[in-house]
Each structure stands twice: as C-alpha cells, then as structure tokens.
C-alpha cells in the first residue's frame, strides 16, 4: 500500500488531534474567562473585560507561591534525575535481563497503591514519634525528636521524590536502549574510564530521556497538592492549593488567571528550550 506521505501523516494524527481539540477547546474558554470580571451579584463571572484576575496575582504575595512552586518542581525533578540516572544505568547495564525486568516491575508496584495514603504515611514515618525519630533515639544518636523532619520543606521534597521517582527513571531506561554496546566497548578498549564513558557517550545519547524525565517530574510536581498539604507545615502553599483557595471564595477570574499564567510560563519555557536545544529533534534518529 503506497500512500503519499502527507495523507499518511494526516490519518495518523487525526484521532490524537481530535482528543487534543477536546482538551484545548475548554482551555481556550478558561483563558477567555480569565479576562472577564467577577460578578458580585451572582458570584460567577460576567462577560466584561477586566484584568482584575491578573492583578490579583500581584497581591498578597501570590506570585511568590508561583515562584516557589517552580522552585520545588525544579528541585524535585533534579533530585529524581540524580537518583534516576544511576538507577537506569544499573537496570540497563549492570543487571542481567531477568533481574532488569524484576527491578522494573518492583518500581511500579508501590504506585498501584494510593498516593494519598502513601503521602499520609510519611507523616507517621517522619513525625516526632515516628519510625526515624524512634530509631535515632533508641540508638542513642539523639536525645529528643528532630522537629524539622516533618512539616518542613525537607518533608515535602522527600514526599515529592518518593511520589514521582519512577517517572524519571523509566524514560531514562528507554533512552538507554538506543545505546550501541559496540560503541561503548570500543570506548573502553581505547582506555576510557567509567566517568569518561558517562560524560562523552552515555549522557549525550540519552539526553532525550533526561529531558523527558525532567519534564515529567516537573509537570507532576507543579500539579501536585497532597504532599505539600500533608507534609508542608503551617500554611505551606503550592499553586494547586492556591487555585483551590481562590475558587473557594468564588474568585474564578483569579483562579483562571493563575492557571493561565502557570500554563503560559511552563509552555514558554518549553518553547524556549525548543528554540535553544531543538527539543523535538531530541527524539530523532541521529545515527
């Protein structure tokens, strides 16, 4: 069957496009609504142009919440990559095929249980009478419970990393599959040490996996709220919590404005990255 390329591409993209249109249409509505005014008589919105929604982001320090959310997302994604890369290396290169499959399966099992109770259980592990504090005190290393283990940024990052680690590891493993073992053997024959091989061969060729892993964890952290609410401490905030807070007082234009801003910033970063690194070309065949 010889179809011209453009028709083939068209056919393939159609269903996905339909779904995305289903998702983008309401998004467009939300962006439009973010420029409408809040109606004090019905507590809903009225079709009157107003920037009050966006102005609200500059008040009460809301933009600091947006910034700190991005910071958390960045930090979590970086840590997940730092742990995920060696894990992917171990699974792909160091383990036998069978062990690799077992390790992969083991990585998914905890995520079949609810993330809500998993986050909740960190309170029980990190708390004043939790497992860690009890062990430390029993071993005589501390005389009083360590307070900052829980209800702090530390606890939030621990919870986030524990919730999203495999989302960084899996893309890395997949990216490593395109590595040609012959090339690596050749490099070693030429005397390259472990770190040199990593730096010159493995890292550059798996960069698409690095990007994917970073993006996944980044996006999921941006949209998370449970870890911060359960582990963050007095009044800890993140964008999703803020949107909920604002919706609770029926300030829908502000809620939509915050979402639009976050979406615009992230998408802008991706666009910038695309321009700078040619992101979409990361996935191309480079042989």
């Amino acid at each position: 069957m010889k179809l011209p390329l453009s028709t083939l591409a068209g056919l393939m993209s159609a269903p996905a496009l339909a779904i995305i249109a289903m998702g983008l249409a309401p998004l467009a509505v939300v962006v439009v609504w973010s420029f409408w005014a809040w109606d004090p008589s019905t507590y809903w919105i009225k079709p009157e142009l107003s920037f009050a929604g966006y102005a609200g982001i500059l008040e009460a320090g809301r933009w600091t919440v947006i910034l700190s959310t991005f910071a958390k997302a960045f930090l979590t994604a970086a840590i997940c990559l730092l742990i995920g890369f060696p894990t992917a290396y171990a699974v792909h290169f160091l383990a036998s095929r069978r062990l690799a499959v077992v390790l992969l399966a083991l990585m998914t099992i905890p995520f079949l249980t609810s993330y809500l109770i998993r986050s909740f259980s960190w309170r029980l592990v990190l708390g004043r009478t939790g497992v860690i504090n009890t062990l430390l005190q029993d071993a005589g290393l501390t005389s009083a419970p360590i307070d900052w283990l829980l209800f702090s940024d530390f606890a939030v990052i621990v919870g986030l990393v524990a919730s999203y680690l495999p989302f960084a590891t899996f893309p890395l493993i997949l990216a490593m599959q395109r590595l040609d073992p012959v090339a690596i053997a050749a490099a070693r024959d030429l005397g390259a040490g472990f770190w040199t091989v990593q730096r010159t061969l493995i890292l550059p060729l798996t960069i698409s996996g690095v990007f994917a892993g970073f993006l996944f964890v980044f996006v999921m952290t941006l949209g998370s709220s449970t870890e911060v609410q359960m582990l963050g401490g007095a009044g800890a905030s993140i964008v999703s919590v803020m949107i909920n807070d604002v919706m609770r007082v029926a300030n829908y234009p502000l809620a939509f404005a915050i979402s639009t801003v976050v979406l615009a910033v992230v998408f802008g970063l991706v666009l910038l990255g695309n321009r700078a690194f040619g992101l979409s070309r990361l996935f191309e065949d480079r042989s």
């Binding site: 995520f111 259980s121 497992v131 949107i243 695309n274 996935f283």
Partner: protein
C-alpha cells in the same frame, strides 16, 4: 554487559539505586505493617498483636471496592486509548518533516494544564453538549492527562528504530505496513509497554480531574480523599496492603520462573 566497570562507580550506582528504592518503598512497606495492627490508629503493630481482621473486613467494604473497580476499569481504558493514540501521534511525528516541532508542542500542551482547570472546563463543555457523566467522561479527562506522557515515552523508544533498518527492508521489498509490523513494532515494544503502564498508573492515581468528571460512582482516589477527611477505618490500609501483596506475589512468581529457567 558492563562487567568492565570499575568497582567503585559500580558500588556508587547500586547504592544510589538502593536509596531510590528505599524512598519509594518506605511508605507502602510501612502501610503494610500498619495493616496488620489491630489498633484503630495507624501505627506499627507490636509483635504479639499481628492480626488479619482488617483484611477480613475488606470483603464488606462495598463502597471502597466499587470505587476500586471503577478506578481499575477507567485506568485500563485510559491506558489502552492513550497508548494507541500516542502511537499514532508518534508515527505521524515520524512521517512529518516540516511541521514536526509544532506537532510535538501541540501534543504535549495538555500536560501543563492544572488538573482543576482541566476538569472543570471539560466538565462544563461536556455538560453543555449534553453528555452524561460516567466512567467514559472520566476516561476522557484522564486521556488528556496521560497522552502527552505516553507520546513522549513512545517517542523516546522510537530512537531505537534506525532509518537504515527501514531503508534496508524497503530495498528488500517490504511494504510500509510490513516494515512497521516486523521492524518498528518489536523495537518499540518496550516503549509501548512503558506507555501503557505510565498511563495506567497516572489514571489510577488521578484525583482532581476525576472529581469534576465522575458520575455518581466516584473513583478510588476521590473516595479515599473523602475518607481521609471524614474518618477512615483501617480497612483502607488493608486494601493498600492487599494490592501490594498481590503485585509482589505476581512479580515473585515471574522472578522465580525466570531464575529457574536459567538453571
């Protein structure tokens, strides 16, 4: 494969891997221990009081099990649809030469939309269109969430498919369909499986979109959220423990079979 690695870096790699596993396994293992404690307040059981009573009580938790079932059905549907659609989108990506960048960005755009907004907006649209809320509407919302992930995962695995293979096959007379079936598909199958698993997990654990799009039967995360807010019986830990044990058992069976085959 890499037995020529120096010992110290290998030790480092395995240590960090272990740390990663410890981080993701600490909660479910702790919860497993908690599920054997007879106390109403979650905590580790002392050795004498290990009990199975919460597991026994699970059978009677109709609402919880109905929600679990609903979540599984939705997750399977989402995973199948997301994998298929993302595969098509990835193939389209491969076919396109000029508009690749734009296509890539369009497909991943839904990923950045906050769940609250996506759920509310989609729910508004569906209501206006007269579509009744059900498992399908939740699936639609989850599809939007999972597809970008599945798309990127499949694209990553596509890198294994070298154009040289496809050109060689075409030289030998293979049609495009046969090239796809015999070369591309086997090479990207790890990617397809990963995409399926990703989408399944993303859907199973998704709360905000499901809240806005669900019908009268809530999904498991929504029900659990309600229970955390209004009083949860320890059967929720038993359910978590049961899921965990069953999965570990499956993996254990596979591992043992694999190991015994080697000998």
């Amino acid at each position: 494969m890499m037995s020529r690695d120096e010992p110290f870096p290998r030790f480092l790699v395995w240590t960090i891997t272990l740390i990663g596993f410890a981080a993701i396994y600490a909660p479910p293992l702790y919860l497993l221990a908690v599920s054997f404690s007879p106390a109403l307040q979650p905590g580790l059981p002392s050795p004498g009081e290990i009990t199975l009573k919460w597991y026994a009580a699970l059978a009677g938790e109709r609402a919880l099990l109905a929600a679990l079932w609903q979540s599984v059905i939705i997750a399977i549907g989402t995973a199948v649809a997301a994998t298929v659609l993302s595969l098509l989108a990835a193939l389209a990506y491969r076919e396109m030469q000029a508009r690749r960048g734009a296509w890539f960005l369009i497909v991943i755009l839904p990923m950045f939309v906050p769940g609250v907004i996506q759920g509310l907006a989609l729910s508004t649209l569906l209501t206006r269109a007269g579509i009744k809320a059900s498992a399908l509407t939740v699936m639609a919302g989850h599809l939007l969430w999972a597809m970008p992930f599945a798309f990127i995962v499949i694209l990553t695995s596509f890198a294994v498919v070298r154009n040289s293979y496809l050109m060689a096959a075409s030289d030998l007379g293979a049609s495009r369909w046969r090239q796809f079936r015999d070369i591309t598909l086997p090479l990207i199958s790890p990617g397809l499986i990963s995409a399926f698993i990703f989408s399944f997990l993303l859907s199973l654990n998704e709360f905000t979109r499901a809240f806005y799009l669900a019908g009268r039967q809530n999904t498991l995360p929504v029900v659990l959220f309600g229970k955390m807010n209004s009083g949860a019986s320890p059967t929720i830990y038993a359910m978590s423990g049961a899921i965990f044990l069953v999965s570990v058992l499956c993996v254990g069976v596979i591992a043992i079979r694999a190991l015994s085959e080697r000998r």
